[in-house]
Symmetry: C2
Subunit: 331 residues, 2 copies
Amino acid sequence: MKVAVGADIGGTSIKAAVVSVLGTLKHDRILPTRSQDTPEDTVTRLADALGGLLLEAARIAGVEPRNIPVGIGCAGLIDTSRGIVQISPNLPHWRDVPLGAMLAERLGSPVLLINDANAFVLGEGRAGAGRGARVLLGLTLGTGVGGGILLDGELFTGVHGWAGEMGHTPLQIDGEKCACGSYGCLEGFVGNREIVLRYMELAGGEPTQILKKFLKDPSEQPTPETLSLAARAGDAPAIESFRQTGRYLGAALAGFVNIFDPDRIVLGGGVAQAGELILKPAREMMEERMMFPQKQHPELCLAALGPHAAVIGASLEALNRVGKNEFSGGA
Amino acid sequence: MKVAVGADIGGTSIKAAVVSVLGTLKHDRILPTRSQDTPEDTVTRLADALGGLLLEAARIAGVEPRNIPVGIGCAGLIDTSRGIVQISPNLPHWRDVPLGAMLAERLGSPVLLINDANAFVLGEGRAGAGRGARVLLGLTLGTGVGGGILLDGELFTGVHGWAGEMGHTPLQIDGEKCACGSYGCLEGFVGNREIVLRYMELAGGEPTQILKKFLKDPSEQPTPETLSLAARAGDAPAIESFRQTGRYLGAALAGFVNIFDPDRIVLGGGVAQAGELILKPAREMMEERMMFPQKQHPELCLAALGPHAAVIGASLEALNRVGKNEFSGGA
């Protein structure tokens, strides 16, 4: 059985696992991201965790660990061909860190470094909800909004490897300043922060009695996850916050549909846990606003692989590149 | 010398020509569109004009007319594989007209039918300002705003052939209603109508003395073309209207850059005649707002093929498909 080792460097935790060529997880580990650490310290911790997984993977595959490819997903601008994390919101101190080469040197295995939302769409496209789509768009909804584009099963990367940043499409050109430096980006309409702000406004400034049942203590800040639970329990402001968020998302999706004429759009990330609460209004708004006949709207669906989609996608893409000499570090 | 016959069905006129495999025009004709005509009447007039050009083309190529491919660009939703004009803003009475088959039957030659902005980007990409680009975006700025995407020299069509409608990306989700049915589309910020409205507001409700010199009589409505002339003669409201238009365009381009990571963007259509008056503010805004390092901004340039870019693009794509059995009508 062909296997790879994959990891996804998130804002608070790093997920890692052994992944089979079918996209199934064999083992999985989780370690804290510690975003203030130096690149060297992070690489040391990451190499320790991945080293253990490489041994497991080698045992399963019956090969030497150095023959097991490693795929890493990381948020931000990633130079895949050189294996460099150029800028990452999760690792704010990092600038042009050659993570691919650093890890390859420690591990002895070939390492592929890709954007985390690109890894997400690769995972869903090859082993999840995007299988069989010809033009697949993937969006990860969380604190940030990431994106990836799969054309006939292959990642569309653009000329520098940065393509797919659909979360930074302007929905209001004189809107609020975004973390990316622009204004009125989609991320600022459907990101976690905005969903909670929208809720607080609708709820009159403080959590409703229903929401309070899902908070550990009164000082806990609401999140899209707790709002999802409250909405399912009938909390009107939570339902309305997701509905409004879905409509903003749908308006943006209509624009992406006009650009890409896709057959499927997959939504992942924490916000997607709200399921039909956000999907239904998004789908309705998308169909209302897209140019194309409504009968031919793309399928809008939730990710199927859960929180490990990017780990799986990075692993499958690493396996895909074995023998092609297209790794970020090592060979 | 390999040649094709191409045509571009515009809002007021149909352009047609013999086009060589190098993208050079050998002959060209122009006929009125007459948007109220029935499809049959339009096909008859078009077939007459194209028939003459086919004879010229056959003479040049030393082959039978039926061996000369025909490429047609037309605004709207085009089903290229079946050769159908589904909806066209230039031909408002037409619904699902099998123009490809109708023309192929009259002419005896294979006919390729594609969206006009797709034809534009094919022309510029293969024989104009887009040559050599890996990821090329093309926008045609006029009454409507069309778009096309060329990846490694090949048209990206999406699943139904409708991709590239970047003019209908929402820049303001609660903005004005657009002809496409959506709200706040890019087209409503940078289309001809908005440029003139912006001018009239800046000029205090009526044409300035400078602009009047370029109008045939006081009742003539300003257009982006006459405003370009006035701006070049120093007309402040005209310059400012183009500057504001350029900034709106640039904000949208920044979003497209984040999505596509392109190496070049080519602007065509009437508005592009304003040249650096619109290009400079657009470029500045794009660089201000895009996520990627400014050193790596894509080249933003004007179309090189003039008003015949779509005729040339449709012809070159028709030539490209000879022997591939990928025409819309005939074989």
